[in-house]
Structures are given as structure tokens and as C-alpha cells.
Amino acid sequence: MITLNRACRRARGCQQLLIAHRRLSQSALDRLAQPVQSYISTSRDPYLNLSVEHYLLQKSAPESTILLLYVNRPSIVIGRNQNPWLEVNLALLNPSQQSQPETESPGLGNVDLVRRRSGGGTVFHDEGNVNWTVICPPKAFTRDKHAEMVVRALRSCGVERSRVNERHDIVLDQGERIADVDLDNTHITPYTRHAGLPEIRPLKVSGSAYKLTRQRALHHGTCLLSSPNLNIIPDYLHSPAKPHITARGVESVSSPVGNILLSNEHFIDAVRSKFSGKYRSPEGTEHIEVGEDWLDHEPVRQGYEELKSREWTFLQTPQFTISTSADPSCTTDVELTVRNGAISGGHLRHRGGAVIVELNAHSIGQRVHNITSWPETLSQMFTGVDCAEGRRLGAWFERMLPVQART
């Protein structure tokens, strides 16, 4: 099916001059006006899935309520306003381009880096994780409402340890059964430990993020069902640059995670069932498949291209400063300020020396993600840096702000 699509698309590409816009089918467009809509994506492409989600947010009727479910191939998704150099071990992402033999990739192959449009922290997606999105009118919106719906879906599958916590995430309580509780309450389980008992941290299985516009409220979350990668996720989400970066913006709050151990299908059916029960549509809710054909629709494609672009991924980073001063192994203090993903200032000082060398003016505006060689770039940034020092500093910066492979 997919290969057929691709062949057709290439053919269409040639005919693009003849066919001005491929649109979504009329029925798909009409559906956007229905009061209750449910979609599931057949694609594993995180950029496509997020673009479809964004399209639904912008184009669906303001009073409608929408469910979208999707699964992504292995990818790291950072929040709207996060810093990829701070949150992600970028060196691990494109193992085939690795020049340093000591950075052994954990064996996942290529992992996409995606910046989404909603807030919140960094998460790891793979085929054992199902993402759910609910879009509704702001009047009906609360931060917990749909997390509670998902917990009810989980409980209907027998996951009685699941509940919504104070951060609107879904967690599984650990440890022994404590007390009988009101089972309709999605914020407490029979295993929830109260003060006075030795603490056992619950495992986080779903994180939430939101995007609020004037007319619509979007709440999406992950759900860790059966990821095979739990033990290597920490490696991807731990950046060596973290101790050396001073930044603004939202930081991720790390929590121990665990798998619910439910199949994707079982979970998807349960969520759909709870959604349909909550938002009754007189004709019943049809679950519509969304696939790569949606890319033919111009607004979706534009959003897709934007999400894929390195400009969106890297230049949307809030201002930060990176400095060698906290690293005792460096003999030179170098500090660089990066604004909108591009160098905006910096200086260098040899430790034990008094002279401070300012960043050369022509380096201002150099986009960090476009740097191909740190030793070369550093010698352009600061005059008077000799070869050996340039190599040492270059190696340090290469570890902290890895060169991005040209895609």
C-alpha cells in the first residue's frame, strides 16, 4: 500500500505543473465540521503525525471534539521551547555518521529528533508507545480531563494501578495494596501510598503537554505500553553538555518510567471506547484512518516541512550560554552565547592568563547546527588560538555540541 502510494506520488510530482493542489477528499474536509471525530494514523513518521495533529487543531470546527491516536518510529520529541543540546544526547542520534569510535550507539539505528508545537518536556517515542491527542473547545478544557479518560481506559483493561498525578501525568503505583478506595476516583488507587509509609516512587507511564489557542485546547500524551528500549532511553536523554550550559526555557522533569505491558491494539480500543462513551455522536463514531496521503494536502505538507526543517528544530531554542569554565580538564575558558540557535557572542581566556579574547564579529550569526568542524570554527571565532589548543577545544565542543549530519 505504501509503496504504491510512493510510486503514485512521484508520478504526481511530475505532473505538479498540471495539477495545482491535491486536496483532501471532500468527505475528509466535511468531517472536520462534525461534532465528534476520531482518527488513527497508519504512519510511523513523527513529523507527519504531528503535522496532522496540528492541522486538526487549526482546521477542525471550534465546537468539535477530536481524538487522534498515533505511534511513532524511534524518535525523541522535545517541547516547543526546549534546548536540544541540553536535553538530548545528540551524538547518539545519527550513529552512521559517528566519527568517534568510543560512542557506541545503543543499537537503535537512526532516531529522529523532533520539536513539537506544544509545551512540556522531552520524551522518547518508539513502537511500544502509543500517543493520544484530544482537541476540544477551551470552555470544556481542564488539564486533567482527558488524562482521567485514559486512566479509565487503562483500568478497563485491568491496569488497576494507574492514576493521574498532580502534574497531570499518568503513573502506576508500586508496592503492596494499601487500602480500599473509591474506584471512580482516577487520582488514587488501592496501591497509593500515603504519608507515614516508606515511600515507593510510582512509575510514570504517560506525560502530558498542552497547546492552547483562542478557540481550541489540545492535550496530548504518551503511553508506554511495551517499549523494548526503556533501559537505553536514559542514555539518549542525558546530554553531556548539561553541566556546562546555562539556559532559560522549560527543563524536563525526569521520572522513573515503566511499561504498562498492554498491547497497542488493546489500549487503542479501550481509549476509543471511553472517548465514544464520553462524546456520544448520534450516528456512532467512525474511526478514520489518516496516512501519508494527507501530505498531499497543502497545509499539512507545509506544517510537515516546517517540523522537519533544521531551522525549526534548532533555531527555536531560547538563549543559552555554554562555557568550559566548570570543566577542570580544560585549560582555556571559553564561553559562547547562542541566541535563536546562532552564535551571538563569546570570549576566550587562557586559565591563569589575564587576556580576554573577544569573539570575532564575523562569527556572529553562525548557526550552531550548521557547524561542520569545531576546531576550524573555533580558530575563526577567536584569533590567537594555536593548533593544539584549537584541537583540544574543538574536541570538547564536538562532544558538547555535536556536529549535525547533513540530511
Binding site: 488539564r143 487520582h187 566548570a326
Partner: protein, 483 residues
């Protein structure tokens, strides 16, 4: 009705949040504009409360620049707070005059976001979004009020009923405010420069233990040195606490509700509290309630003790208005006391996310049934997460009932600008002697009154407390006091 005032001689200071601006806005009625006469009104549009106790959020991007013409509902900017990215749209037609923040800056809730030259009709609700807030005070005190009020939305609640954890004696707080943060791997790069963190490593100090005095709570070098000096002092005087097992401590950030409580209760440290407790025989009240509840139409229409207590306090306040007053002590040399005419009682509610205190207004004008209905409504709203910031504002007195959990004598903490608070525990059956000297069972409920001794003296508080006790011990007395 807004009348047109002529203030042509006074220069308009666009950046000050003065009373003049408020009045000028009230004064100018756009409907009275002549078509040939264009009045320029440039107003700061405030960043609205986005709930969750969030007081600031990061500005991500602007969609407009100064000089841009906007229509109502055009996007102005995108802001981000923890998990939510929010698009802010213009409520008016107009021209953008000034942006108050650069991208990446932290924008403060309740403070100006942009200045707009308004060229459309303004409704009353829109006025509230502008500096001056449409209230009696200027925006300066409006901002202060917004911190004093409990502007917190409730997180999905269940089992909502009134309760307050018995407040700790504020005097026993540790020297280091126990700021729990996330553990080990968690990054604090936003709280200290690399140089300072290098220093903490050198001095073998955990940065999370150091209290930062710099901007945004940043840890400065002086803070590290001070911490080291203090802890060497403490080591000689403090015993290490007993470790019951090798469990790891957990550092957690404060939730939004805890943050708000922290700020509010820290300010309450200034209040010299005294406690007056009063054991009340509520047997007659219980009998009365049982009788009334027989004819209740449904289980949730049954009357609890609380509406009666609220009414009794309100009746007592007719004779003791001092306990319903507000103290403004911002200038310690000139404290201002305001006797509030309305009895607006904050009622403390325990929710899974923490303590919330929504307000029931004008209790003096409400019947006991009406008070009960309002209490029910507030509980429901709290459960459905529908409490708005306006539900928390303007309390003149607070009642905190922890009876559904327990409690005998409690020592509640006053929220400024109030001057008193009443805490109620759980009633229990105790032995007592009746007028004939026989041993009988009575249902006793302890009322714990805390009052601000800068304003209220023991005798006045005691008289009020005894009056409430009498009203509740013989409910018939309430009947003859009602208007």
C-alpha cells in the same frame, strides 16, 4: 454609565499604573466620541492568569511588532509555561504601540504584555484586562491583591469536603526553608552560572542545599560561602537525625498550590497569633439537623453543621465587627484598618492537589439553606476544576473545618489582610453534667479561634467566641437574631 470627564490639563503618563489612568478609562465613554474627533487611548494589555497558580511564563515568539494593526482575535504572541504553550490573541481592534518583553523573557501574570492603541468599543470585561483592572484600586495594588488572593485552579478533585491540615506553629520553621527539588540527575543550570557550580564542587556542597539570593533565586558565590559557614556552625550543635533505613531522600519542586501557600504563609509569619479555644455543646444542633434532614429531598440536600456555623459567626460579627476587618500593614508606621461591611467567608477545602479557600460572599444576607447550597456549589466546582480566580478573592474571614478527618484543638494560621480565623475539629461524645448534676452524654465540638493580637485583644475574641457558642448551643437564639 460612564460620564465624560474633562481632564485635558493633566498630562497622560502612559507607563504609570496610577489611579488617574483607571479613572480616565472609566471616564471616557467611547460611545460619546464624535466621528470627527478621534481619542487616542493607548492602554497596556495585561497578561491574563492562565491558571494553575502560574505567575510567570516564557515568551516564545511575537506575531506582531509595534506599529502593526491588529483586529480582535488576531494572534499577539505565544507564551509557554511548564507543560502548556498558549497563544494569546488581542481582545480589541487597534494598533500595537509597544511590546513589553523580548522573546525568551519571562512575562509576569497580571503585568502589561503589550500596549495597544485601542480603536474599538471596550466592554467592561475588556477593561479588566487592561491596567487599572476596572477596580477601585490602581493596578499596583491590583497586582498585590492578585498575590494575596488564592488564584489557583483546582486540579481534578474528588471527595471534596472542608478540611485543613492542622497548621504548624510558624515559629518552628527550620532555618533553611526546605526547598525540595528533583533529585540528582536533575539539572539546575538555570540557577547558577558554571563558575558558581564549579565552586560548589570545590567546596563539596550540593547546589540544591544552597539558598540563592540572586535574581530568580540564582545561587551566587556569596550564597555558597555563606552556606558553608552556616553548616559548619550547625554541625557542632545539631544531632544527625536517626536514619531508620537506607532510603533515599527525594528532592521535589513545590507544586503550584504549595508555592502559593508558601508565599502566603511566609507573610503570615508577621502576624502575632493568639489562640482561644471554646468547647461547644452541639447536641441541640445535631438534633435540629436530624429533624430537618428527614424531610430533605435527596441525600446531598442534607444540612451539615457548617452552614449553621457560618451563619452563627456572621450573626456574632454583627456585634463584633472587629473580627471581620482587614489590616493593611504595608506601611508599618501607618497601619490601616478597614471594617468590612460584607461578611465574605473563605471556606477551606481539601483537594487532592492541596488546600484551596474559595469564598462565600455576603453571608449576612444569606439564609442557612442558601449558605448550604453555596457550599455544595463550591464543592462541585472544585471537583470539576471550575473554580476561577474570582472565587478566591476578597475573603474577610476564614473558616477551616477539618472535622471530617479529625482534630480537637487546632491552631489555624491567619491569611493577611484578615485579622482572625476559625478552625473546627471533629465533634465527639463526651460525658458532662447537666443542670441537675446528672451525668449525661453531650456532643462536644471544639472551636479554635486565632486572632491577630496587633488588632484584636483576647477579651474581644473571647466575647465573640462565646457568642457563637451560645448561638449554636441553643439554635433558637439564632432564629431571634436573624433579620
Amino acid at each position: 454609565m460612564r460620564t465624560l470627564l474633562l481632564r485635558a490639563c493633566r498630562p497622560l503618563n502612559l507607563t504609570s499604573t496610577s489611579r488617574l489612568q483607571t479613572q480616565l478609562l472609566h471616564a471616557v465613554s467611547l460611545r460619546s466620541l464624535h466621528t470627527t474627533h478621534h481619542l487616542n487611548i493607548v492602554k497596556p494589555f495585561l497578561l491574563a492568569d492562565i491558571g494553575e497558580g502560574i505567575t510567570e511564563c516564557q515568551l516564545i515568539q511575537w506575531f506582531v511588532q509595534p506599529g502593526a494593526r491588529v483586529e480582535q482575535f488576531d494572534k499577539l504572541c505565544e507564551v509557554q509555561s511548564d507543560k502548556a504553550s498558549v497563544e494569546i490573541t488581542s481582545p480589541f481592534d487597534g494598533v500595537i504601540k509597544k511590546l513589553h518583553y523580548d522573546p525568551d523573557d519571562m512575562a509576569i501574570t497580571g503585568k502589561p504584555l503589550v500596549d495597544i492603541d485601542i480603536q474599538s468599543e471596550i466592554t467592561e470585561e475588556d477593561e479588566a484586562k487592561l491596567a487599572g483592572g476596572g477596580g477601585e484600586e490602581g493596578a499596583g495594588s491590583a497586582a498585590k491583591e492578585s498575590i494575596g488572593e488564592h488564584e489557583i485552579r483546582v486540579e481534578g478533585a474528588a471527595g471534596v469536603d472542608v478540611a485543613e491540615p492542622a497548621a504548624e506553629n510558624p515559629g518552628s520553621q527550620p532555618t533553611h526553608p526546605d526547598r525540595r527539588r528533583s533529585s540528582g540527575k536533575q539539572d539546575h543550570s538555570s540557577l547558577a552560572t558554571p563558575a558558581v557550580r564549579h565552586l560548589t564542587k570545590e567546596m563539596k556542597v550540593a547546589i540544591t542545599d544552597v539558598r540563592g539570593t540572586g535574581k530568580d533565586g540564582r545561587v551566587l558565590k556569596e550564597d555558597v560561602h555563606r552556606h558553608v559557614a552556616q553548616s559548619t556552625q550547625q554541625q557542632s550543635t545539631v544531632h544527625t537525625p536517626m536514619q531508620t533505613s537506607a532510603r533515599a531522600d527525594r528532592k521535589m519542586p513545590l507544586t503550584p498550590i504549595q508555592t502559593q501557600m508558601f508565599k502566603l504563609m511566609t507573610r503570615s509569619l508577621n502576624i502575632p497569633h493568639f489562640l482561644y479555644t471554646c468547647a461547644t455543646d452541639v447536641s441541640s444542633l445535631t438534633t435540629l439537623r436530624k429533624t430537618l434532614n428527614i424531610s430533605a429531598s435527596s441525600p446531598d440536600q442534607r444540612l451539615t453543621q457548617l452552614p449553621f456555623i457560618l451563619k452563627a459567626v456572621s450573626l456574632a460579627f454583627q456585634h463584633h465587627p472587629l473580627l471581620n476587618s482587614s489590616l493593611d500593614s504595608t506601611d508599618p508606621a501607618k497601619p490601616q484598618l478597614t471594617y468590612r461591611s460584607a461578611h465574605s467567608f473563605g471556606v477551606a477545602i481539601d483537594t487532592p492537589s492541596g488546600l484551596l479557600v474559595p469564598v462565600i460572599r455576603n453571608v449576612q444576607d444569606l439564609s442557612i439553606n442558601e449558605i448550604a447550597a453555596q457550599l455544595r456549589q463550591l464543592s462541585e466546582k472544585a471537583r470539576d476544576n471550575k473554580l476561577a480566580p474570582s472565587d478566591f478573592s476578597g475573603a474577610s474571614f476564614t473558616i477551616s473545618n477539618i472535622g471530617n478527618i479529625g482534630g480537637g484543638v487546632v491552631s489555624p494560621v491567619i491569611s493577611e489582610p484578615q485579622v482572625a480565623i476559625l478552625g473546627i475539629g471533629r465533634s465527639k461524645i463526651v460525658p458532662a453534667f447537666n443542670q441537675q448534676g446528672e451525668l449525661v452524654k453531650v456532643e462536644e465540638l471544639v472551636f479554635s479561634w486565632s486572632a491577630d493580637h496587633r488588632i484584636v485583644d483576647g477579651a474581644e475574641c473571647a466575647r465573640c467566641a462565646e457568642r457563637v457558642k451560645n448561638l449554636l448551643e441553643k439554635p433558637g437564639k439564632m432564629m431571634v437574631e436573624m433579620r
